[in-house]
């Protein structure tokens, strides 16, 4: 915790130090002449993507003689610090992968190059995905792959309890109750209330017709927020979701049938099959987010690819990004690391239509929004998580939680 606070302080200092250039009118994007593309492109990418991208990029090299791509894989743990340091020291690569929620903060440093309109067509992407890279009216980089959340449930337990996957909030409560009472899922639904728990709550706010920010201000203390928090907390209060499980007990609890349902992203399809073994694959399925009074909007995440202003090889860098967002390439990348395409047309490819559960995410992506692309988002998300934990543990009412979030978020501001 101490290290984290200090880290935030350091990043805050950095943001103020580099913030001078920002705040003016929207930046102009400069066209790129890809015919001049040649030489080496240096790329940073995180985690499994970073490990696989080097070999994958060979296809791009084969199609573009004279261009080489050098990928450096980074661990997620260090990526944020490493990229901020590289920006501060003006020692960036040409291209880097960025978590979509970092876009606001990184764009504010003035180190990212606006997306050239002559090369990248906004309309081919999911609007929610494109929104992650749009900061103060200027688009930076491209959405590379996307994630969104949907509702996972045990098909065998649902059948045993005689219930169908829920389409509305009310049905969700009834559904989980049936799984628990009739099919023996004694822990009900898994709701995260620790790190990353903002992803559980923010979709509910949208589904209730509210929003967490409007016109450059945080709007946590609203009736819609309270509705969302009340719905979220009701599962804990009614004993349909547990707070006393040891860290890491989930996902094994789902495999064992103690937990009947949970909300998560597409990686869990493969994750669960790995976790539960081959015969488990047929025992669970995915449904779109159950709808609240204002719809079933989910949250979109994923990663973007950006080009730095200090890139030594601008033309080849953008050409590489153009290639990465080609529908065919996106579909084949899905085959490699199961990262969902940010380009809509890629979803017609056979690789993505094969599994019905993957298709559910494709449909959900059409109704998904991004977290606010502001420099302070990561800090505000931490505030949400702290307050959500108090709510889940029954130490604070929904109304007080909304108030507490608002008060702290206001002090942090939106970095505008």
């Amino acid at each position: 915790m101490k290290r984290f606070v200090i880290g935030v302080a350091a990043v805050g200092l950095l943001a103020t130090a580099c913030g001078r250039s920002a705040g003016g009118p929207a930046e102009e994007a400069k066209d790129v002449d890809v015919n001049k593309a040649a030489g080496e492109v240096t790329v940073w990418a995180m985690g499994a993507e970073g490990e696989a991208l080097g070999a994958f990029a060979k296809e791009f090299e084969a199609a573009n003689p004279g261009v080489t791509v050098k990928v450096t894989p980074l661990g997620w743990d260090v990526a944020h610090d490493k990229i901020t340091a590289a920006i501060a020291g003006n020692a960036t690569p040409d291209v880097s992968m960025l978590g979509s929620t970092w876009m606001g903060e990184m764009a504010k440093t003035g180190a990212l190059e606006p997306t050239p309109g002559n090369l990248i067509d906004e309309s081919v992407f999911f609007p929610g995905a494109w929104g992650t890279g749009e900061v103060a009216g200027t688009a930076y980089g491209v959405p590379w792959y996307v994630e969104t959340r949907a509702f996972y449930y045990r098909t065998d337990l649902a059948e045993k309890a005689g219930v169908k996957p829920p389409a509305t909030w009310e049905e969700t409560t009834a559904f989980v109750k049936a799984l628990k009472d009739k099919a023996g899922a004694d822990l009900g639904v898994e709701q995260n209330f620790k790190q990353g728990s903002w992803q559980e709550v923010v979709p509910l706010v949208w589904q209730a017709g509210g929003d967490i920010s409007a016109a450059g201000k945080w709007t946590f203390d609203t009736p819609e927020m309270v509705t969302a928090l009340t719905h979220y907390a009701s599962f804990f209060e009614d004993g349909l979701a547990a707070t006393d499980q040891p860290t890491g007990a989930f996902p094994q609890t789902f495999v064992k049938g103690k937990v009947g349902a949970f909300y998560s992203g597409p990686w869990m399809i493969a994750g669960m099959e790995k976790e539960g073994g081959a015969d488990f694959a047929g025992k669970f399925s995915v449904a779109p987010y159950p709808k609240g009074s204002a719809g079933g909007t989910s949250v979109i995440g994923g990663s973007n690819m950006v080009v730095f202003k200090s890139a030594k090889n601008r033309e080849a860098a953008w050409k590489f990004l153009q290639w990465l967002t080609d529908p065919k390439v996106q579909a084949s990348w899905f085959g490699k690391v199961a990262a969902l395409p940010s380009v809509q047309a890629a979803w017609q490819e056979p690789a993505l239509t094969a599994d019905q559960r993957v298709g559910v995410f494709g449909d959900q992506l059409k109704d998904a929004r991004s977290a606010p692309a502001v420099p302070t988002w990561e800090q505000v998300a931490k505030v949400m998580e702290t307050e959500i934990e108090k709510l889940a543990l029954g130490k604070q009412s929904a109304a007080d939680t909304a108030k507490a979030m608002q008060a702290q978020a206001e002090t942090i501001g939106t970095g505008a």
Partner: protein, 269 residues
């Protein structure tokens, strides 16, 4: 006699408590991924496998990372042994103006967490053009406030008369330092060497920030690639942890005598 047995029983219980996680980690590195995550957990592997180690050495440039870690750690040890003892000698035995103020400033640095100075330090290293070089990784660790403090405390306990006698015999400061003081510092040097080696060997954030291509990665940095937001590969990570920890265990086995000695000495005042 019985009292002694009780002492040993207590110590044995403590040993089991401390050694259990290491034992579990070591055994887990021989389990398949699914068994590591199984609930309830197993202690002895149901199914022995070397797949994690095989995967580890084929997937990343682990031998390169091992080499890099060794170079970085040895350079840090050499730098600290030489420079910290020199500075410590000056603080302990050479009277000069502002000595206490300067020593105070060194102590203040002990209290500043490394993460706070990371970005300014990186900007500095970048402006020297040392990003992605061994020198860039090593330079900030070559002399440490903790090392200076340790050496100064130790050298202060060496009788002044020895130093004076050498001076009367006409020895210069360098000769006094290398021939009289340094040989007496062996326990402290062993301690400092160990501490520096551990810190450098385990160092994560600084090498991760400075090394910008995979061939410059140290072991912990290379291992961090396996830790993903969604799907951490525990098998590879645990096998990697065992590989990282082995050299430290071996070194400690050989040098533990000095390590214990050194800490007792510095505790005396």
């Amino acid at each position: 006699m019985t009292r002694r047995m009780w002492t040993y029983a207590g110590l044995a219980a403590g040993l089991v408590l401390v050694a259990f996680p290491f034992g579990w980690t070591l055994l887990a590195s021989f389990k398949p991924e699914s068994e590591i995550r199984r609930d309830p957990p197993t202690f002895l592997p149901d199914q022995w496998t070397f797949a994690n180690y095989a995967g580890l050495f084929e997937r990343t440039q682990m031998d390169q990372a091992f080499f890099n870690s060794t170079v970085v750690a040895l350079a840090a040890v050499a730098g600290n042994l030489l420079f910290c003892s020199m500075v410590g000698y000056a603080f302990a035995k050479l009277p000069f103006r502002g000595r206490n103020v300067l020593f105070g400033l060194v102590l203040v640095q002990l209290m500043v967490p490394a993460i706070v100075v990371m970005i300014p330090q990186f900007v500095l290293i970048a402006s020297f053009g040392l990003v992605n070089t061994f020198l860039g990784i090593i330079l900030p660790t070559i002399v440490t406030p903790l090392g200076i403090f340790l050496m100064r405390q130790f050298i202060a306990d060496i009788p002044d008369e020895l130093v004076h006698a050498a001076r009367v015999d006409g020895a210069r400061e360098f000769r006094i330092f290398f021939q009289i003081v340094l040989p007496l510092c062996k326990p402290a040097l062993a301690t400092l060497g160990l501490i520096t080696f551990f810190t450098s060997w385990n160092g994560f954030i600084w090498p991760a920030v400075v090394a910008q291509s995979e061939d410059m990665y140290t072991l912990p940095v290379a291992l961090a690639i396996f830790s993903n937001a969604q799907a951490t590969q525990y098998g590879l990570l645990i096998a990697g942890a065992v590989v990282v920890v082995l050299p430290i265990l071996v070194i400690f086995l050989f040098l533990q005598r000095y390590f214990v000695q050194g800490t007792t000495f510095t505790g005396l005042k």
